[in-house]
Symmetry: C2
Subunit: 184 residues, 2 copies
């Protein structure tokens, strides 16, 4: 009997959807911030703006429409199409901080990742509820109670975090997934 297909739990923001660039643009257009890439490394937006400005961004995110406008991360579509051929791919995104994001996130996924079945989309908060072999995420905290192998997807905010394996690109992620699958 062949082994069951590898089950992947893949995050959205900063992994397949470029929320960071869109937030950066929003902060520039709304409050005039013009950070360099270096200034963003290892930092979250809340460390770079006033509490009122951060609250204004939260209000904007709570409306949900922002999530419909995000660009796809480079290489994500090709990589996920390839993964769908050999693995069970779930998109597992923390949506409960902004519940109005669910419908726009769903529509965005249907538009940009039609190979993902709607039944394999998961909106959650605490990702310790997920059962998968591999999780690809930009937030280390989701790996703490995860029973599988976490792959940290590089984002500006996590540049100083120590984790192995780390994927800087979707090509890296494919290579790491392939290695994990081969060792099962």
């Amino acid at each position: 009997m062949s082994k069951p297909r590898l089950r992947l739990a893949i995050d959205m923001d900063e992994v397949i959807a470029d929320a960071c660039s869109a937030q950066r643009t929003w902060f520039r257009e709304t409050f005039g911030y013009d950070w360099s890439d270096t200034e963003l490394q290892g930092r979250h937006f809340r460390d770079l703006v006033t509490p009122d400005e951060f609250a204004a961004m939260e209000t904007m995110l709570h409306q949900g429409d922002f999530f419909a406008t995000l660009s796809v991360m480079p290489g994500a579509q090709e990589a996920i199409s390839a993964l769908c051929e050999t693995c069970e791919v779930f998109i597992t995104t923390a949506a409960m901080e902004y519940p109005a994001s669910c419908a726009p996130k769903f529509a965005w996924l249907r538009e940009h990742f039609p190979c993902i079945s709607p039944l394999n989309i998961v909106f959650c908060g605490d990702k310790s509820i997920l059962a998968a072999d591999v999780m690809i995420d930009d937030n280390l905290r989701h790996f703490r109670r995860f029973q599988g192998q976490g792959i940290l997807f590089t984002a500006p905010h996590n540049m100083s975090d120590i984790w192995n394996p780390r994927a800087g690109t979707w090509q890296d992620a494919l290579t790491i997934v392939d290695e994990i699958d081969g060792k099962r």
Copy 2:
């Protein structure tokens, strides 16, 4: 070291939210159906109406607002309040067939089950992605690939399904969960 708290994955429709009664009322008011309890046993609405009538219900469900109006299942609030004291409780509901249901379902949960953290709410499709010790659900199919123990919550449509353990009420469910927790 004490054992970790039992992790529960609890469904919404027919388990904590009475979708069946509301659909029954909708079919009565819209198409004049007046089924007895016996007529509903072991059957789904799609078996009892014409394809066009079923499609009309699907259209209504796709609008999402229906899910904001559901009654709470008897005993569910007291039981879940008690479970929240001793267990990690997640609400895990299949929402991807009706993505517009996410926001009304979220609001409904915040109103009727404020003890459930928003971070413990999961909207999904294929529930094999869930990692928990116990799943309480009215659909047997979700137990097939679940790594924990399924408890079938009795609903009209599943009366003929064979599964053990089965909970006819929330009091039953509490007793079964307590037994499972005691045996760990």
